[in-house]
């Protein structure tokens, strides 16, 4: 059941993120991207399976560790996600200033 709950959590966060992305306003897109990144990172992380109390740090009496590879990948992904968020925000700020609107398809109302 744990696995199902976790999967559902990831799915719901992603769904909320996607919905926000489709709102097509700069701020909602930033929020949506944040949520989608959380979901993606959790997804990647969980591909190494969920294990409790098996941190991949050498310990005297342990032989079984959580998979360190997805962790290493996700660690850098988190940091890069931050840089991307910053980039998107700056673009949003400048677009807002130049276009006078926070609609990402400014001038193309509900044309999706």
């Amino acid at each position: 059941m744990m696995n199902l709950a976790f999967s559902a959590g990831v799915g719901i966060v992603a769904a909320c993120g996607v919905y926000l992305l489709l709102r097509a306003r700069t701020y909602t897109i930033v929020l949506g991207l944040l949520l989608v990144s959380y979901a993606t990172n959790l997804f990647l992380f969980a591909s190494g399976r969920l294990s409790i109390d098996k941190a991949p740090i050498y310990a005297e009496d342990t032989t079984s560790y959580a998979d360190p590879i997805p962790q290493a990948l996700v660690l850098t992904a988190i940091v890069i996600g931050l840089a991307m968020t910053a980039f998107v925000i700056v673009v949003a700020m400048i677009a807002n200033q130049k276009l006078g609107s926070d609609h990402v398809d400014a001038g193309r109302e509900d044309d999706a």
């Binding site: 696995n3 700069t26 997804f43 294990s51 991949p56 360190p68 850098t76 400048i94 200033q97």
Partner: protein
């Protein structure tokens, strides 16, 4: 390496003419081109001996061995023949071009392109590897495009060049596909193996595809019907290029390949019907069109198409004697057609026009040119004592002797082709040099410069010598060349001017007599032709097809790419959904017997359940409060917190630390940005729109849930065991995640911090010279001015700074063995510093912390890079860790070079974050602060 040098010299030295023209003007560029050609010839002479002895020279350079791709070259008889044609006629064209281009700007570029083409062509004819051959083949297309479009200020030249590239380029793609398939069928991409695998190839069920694809490449390159139309269009090239590419070399690449692959592909009915069918059609059709051309270069172009058809038809006949005739005609056609093109160029150059209606009576002004052109045209018509006669006789003989079904059709068609050939040759010579003067010439003709005629002289002499004494001059080399293609099957070759009275001679006689009559009644014939219904022209079909393709592409692009970001997202998501859900549905469901893991909850898993609830709560609340910016920022942090807690729960302390510090940085970032984003958002769309969006979002969520659950229900098999086992002995650290980051996968980390730096620089560049208007805000504090910083916050944060820095140092140092490391320490440090900016203002902080963050970013990257490179100094691969244990009094610690790498990462992260946040902080100005 001499053979490689033959090809490499013209390509690598193609800049020499440009350099030469800088030094010595027009003569310099021509001398440069001539010199490079001579060098290539010299290299050829060094490697030619084995070939002359009846063997061949081969050289191989491995390029991509795993793909079977080698730069392999062979110089056998056939390749040598083509090399001699390419280099010999190339040298003559350079000499001729020097005078032809005397009024043209940038002639150095022309010679440079010419050398490039020469190298590509040499590569085609000497390639031993099928794929290498295709590469050079495409290079000839590209370099000939440059040559044809040389007069790029003229629309006709651009159009002709584009069409030539389009047709031969498409053919080249077919050829690539055909060669790949051929290599698969034959089991090797080496020409030698392929040529030996005839039976295996022909028996393979894929043989028809191989054949048709390769023939498409051949027919487009050698301008065979119905792909011939690009060649007349390419006549907008300068005449030296036409003489070189469109008579002697590039268009011969197609028939060369036919002969080259003859031992591997020929011998089937399919081969005969396609190759000979297309060849005969082309020969008769193009000869007919040539007769009625007004442009003398157009006439020669169609004549070339016709003669290429003749060679193609010969190659299709499946007899070894026909192959010999084909090779012979390749040589003969190159000599007489190149000289005719040069003569046409002289006429154009001296009289200023190429129109047969305006030309006439030029023999009076340029007697020697008239004689030369007359002899060459006679060779083209197949008049005895000239080389064209010999190979045409052989063609007639083959046409007569081929199988029963075609016993009448082939000789008849061959004779008809011969008739037209005689007629248009006569019209060419008569129309230009004799006939009445029209008085329509744009300028008074002069005899051409002597040196401009020398190449024509040489070529025409060859026509005559070969034509008169074939047994003496050409028989032995021809046997050698044929042997390199046919091996033991080479037939006895006996070339004589006089074979006695026989059927071919009668055909020749008929062709000459009827052709002469046809020429005499040309006006009547032209009138008759006017009455004939015209078949659709290849050019217009091509243009229609091209127009259709463009319209389709434009329509498709406009439908998808309509500047609406939302539409792109929808398109991407929906296609991902379709592709992603297909394995779950239908028969392809993966391991459907495996089922889903629904094991009951364990006690220790209960906290995780609560964390998942936090996660979901935050996400849903973010959607709910999206229009209340500040609230939304707080609740989205809830999901971040949930994520952090998940990492804590499921054994990922490093991730938890990272996520937590990233949360802080993100929050500060968005807080800063909120000043510049409008408080009242654009109204959202209709409820139908909401419905659609929920549908898509729900689909994505459901899909991701299913995928995640499917992954989690399956047993894990990871490549991690190696890393787990080697972290301590190989990397010298006990924190496996950190060792992976700084050692095993250090290269990835290097790339990732570079991405960080690039993002930060991009942001700095975006904000350069931008002043954004900051909204008046209800939040109170801003980062910039001095007055409004809450006193308490400032007092609290100052003692916090050293404390936080200490924590960061601690995290950095222990990272190799315990949760921590450069990324996390960098984030913590950045947050600590940003806190000072927030609490005390930019100006105050800058006075105390005057650092150029761009430089700091570069410094961090350099440290990481230098650490990696240092390993290379010790002969180790990039980023190999060295470590040792230091015992210093009471201190025992481990020193690893990975630590230096991690410090580089640390500095980069700090600098990047501060660069971003500080730029954001200082960019704004109060509303009304400036007018």
């Amino acid at each position: 390496m001499w053979l490689v040098a033959v090809i490499a010299i013209p390509i690598l030295l193609c800049w020499v003419p440009i350099w030469g023209s800088r030094i010595a003007g027009r003569n310099g560029s021509a001398w440069g081109a001539g010199l490079v050609t001579a060098l290539s010839m010299l290299a050829l002479s060094q490697t030619v001996q084995p070939t002359l002895d009846g063997g061949m020279a081969t050289e191989t350079i491995d390029w991509m061995p795993t793909l079977g791709l080698q730069l392999a070259f062979r110089l056998d008889g056939l390749a040598l023949l083509m090399c001699v044609l390419v280099l010999g006629i190339g040298a003559l064209v350079v000499l001729y071009g020097r005078y032809y281009l005397d009024h043209v700007d940038r002639d150095d570029r022309f010679f440079s392109f010419l050398l490039l083409f020469m190298g590509a062509m040499l590569g085609v004819v000497t390639s031993e590897n099928l794929l290498g051959l295709v590469v050079f083949w495409e290079l000839t297309s590209v370099s000939s495009f440059l040559l044809v479009a040389f007069k790029n200020d003229k629309a006709a030249a651009r159009k002709g060049a584009r069409r030539a590239l389009g047709v031969t380029g498409l053919g080249g793609l077919c050829l690539l596909a055909g060669m790949l398939l051929l290599g698969e069928v034959a089991g090797s991409y080496a020409l030698t193996d392929v040529l030996a695998a005839h039976d295996q190839i022909v028996a393979d069920s894929r043989y028809p595809y191989v054949l048709i694809l390769i023939l498409l490449g051949v027919f487009t390159k050698s301008a065979q019907f119905p792909f011939h139309f690009w060649l007349p269009g390419a006549m907008s090239a300068p005449t030296p290029a036409s003489a070189y590419l469109h008579s002697a070399t590039m268009v011969k690449a197609g028939v060369f390949l036919l002969i080259r692959l003859w031992p591997a592909l020929a011998g089937t009915d399919l081969w005969f019907w396609i190759v000979t069918g297309v060849g005969m059609t082309t020969m008769v059709f193009a000869a007919f069109v040539a007769l009625f051309e007004r442009d003398i270069k157009g006439l020669l172009a169609y004549s070339t198409i016709s003669h290429l058809g003749l060679i193609t038809a010969l190659a299709g006949l499946n007899t070894t004697t026909a192959v010999v005739a084909a090779i012979f005609h390749v040589i003969n056609h190159a000599t007489f057609k190149a000289s005719l093109f040069m003569a046409a160029g002289i006429v154009d150059h001296e009289a200023g026009t190429r129109d047969l209606d305006a030309l006439g009576g030029l023999a009076k002004y340029m007697r020697s040119t008239a004689i030369l052109a007359g002899v060459a045209a006679s060779a083209m018509a197949g008049i005895p004592l000239l080389n064209g006669f010999l190979s045409k006789e052989m063609f007639f003989k083959e046409a007569v002797e081929v199988g029963a079904v075609t016993s009448l059709a082939l000789p008849a068609l061959a004779t008809i082709g011969g008739i037209f050939s005689v007629a248009y040759s006569a019209r060419f010579v008569w129309g230009i040099f004799f006939g009445p003067e029209t008085g329509k010439l744009p300028k008074t003709p002069h005899p051409p410069p002597t040196w401009m005629q020398v190449p024509v002289w040489l070529l025409v002499t060859l026509c005559v010598v070969v034509g008169m004494a074939p047994a003496l001059v050409i028989q032995t080399p021809l046997i050698g060349i044929a042997r390199s293609v046919l091996g033991e099957a080479t037939p006895a070759i006996d070339i004589h001017v006089w074979h006695g009275f026989n059927v071919p001679l009668a055909m020749s006689a008929a062709a000459v007599v009827v052709g002469a009559l046809l020429f005499r009644s040309y006006d009547t014939a032209a009138k008759l032709r006017e009455g004939l219904p015209r078949a659709p022209k290849g050019v217009s079909l091509y243009n229609d097809a091209l127009g259709l393709a463009f319209r389709f592409a434009r329509g498709f692009t406009e439908r998808c790419y309509n500047d609406s970001l939302t539409r792109y997202i929808v398109l991407v998501l929906v296609s991902a959904l379709v592709v992603g859900s297909s394995p779950f549905l239908g028969d392809g469901a993966p391991d459907s017997d495996m089922g889903w893991d629904l094991a009951p909850l364990q006690r220790e898993e209960l906290p995780a359940l609560a964390f998942i609830a936090v996660l979901i709560l935050g996400a849903v609340a973010t959607v709910k409060f999206r229009s209340r910016r500040f609230v939304a920022l707080i609740v989205v942090g809830l999901t971040g917190l949930g994520t952090t807690l998940m990492f804590v729960e499921f054994s990922a302390p490093d991730l938890a630390l990272t996520q937590l510090s990233v949360e802080l940085a993100t929050t500060v970032l968005i807080l800063l940005a909120l000043f510049f984003l409008p408080e009242n958002s654009h109204p959202e769309g209709s409820s139908a729109r909401h419905g659609r969006d929920w549908l898509i979002a729900g689909g994505v969520g459901l899909g991701l849930t299913a995928l995640m659950f499917a992954v989690l229900s399956r047993p894990a098999s990871s490549i991690a065991d190696y890393y787990i086992a080697m972290a301590k002995p190989g990397g010298g650290g006990t924190n496996i995640v950190n060792v992976i980051l700084v050692d095993f996968r250090g290269f990835d980390t290097m790339g990732e911090v570079t991405v960080l730096a690039v993002a930060a620089l991009a942001i700095a560049a975006l904000l350069e010279n931008v002043r954004l208007v900051r909204r008046r805000t209800t939040l109170g504090a801003t980062v910039r001015d001095d007055e409004r910083h809450p006193f308490l916050l400032a007092v609290m944060t100052r003692p916090l700074l050293p404390l936080l820095l200490l924590v960061a140092a601690f995290i950095l140092l222990r990272g190799h063995n315990l949760p921590g490391g450069g990324f996390i320490a960098g984030l913590v440090t950045a947050v600590a510093l940003v806190l000072q900016f927030l609490a005390s203002g930019l100006r105050w902080t800058f006075q105390r912390l005057d650092i150029d963050y761009t430089v700091a970013t570069a410094l961090g990257l350099l440290i990481a890079l230098a650490t990696g490179a240092a390993a290379m100094l010790f002969g180790q691969p990039f980023l190999t860790t060295a470590y040792t244990y230091v015992h210093l009094g009471p201190l025992h610690f481990e020193l690893a070079t990975a630590m230096a790498f991690d410090i580089g990462v640390f500095i980069t992260v700090v600098a990047v974050l501060l660069l971003i946040l500080v730029r954001l902080g200082e960019v704004g100005e109060e509303e009304g602060e400036h007018e």
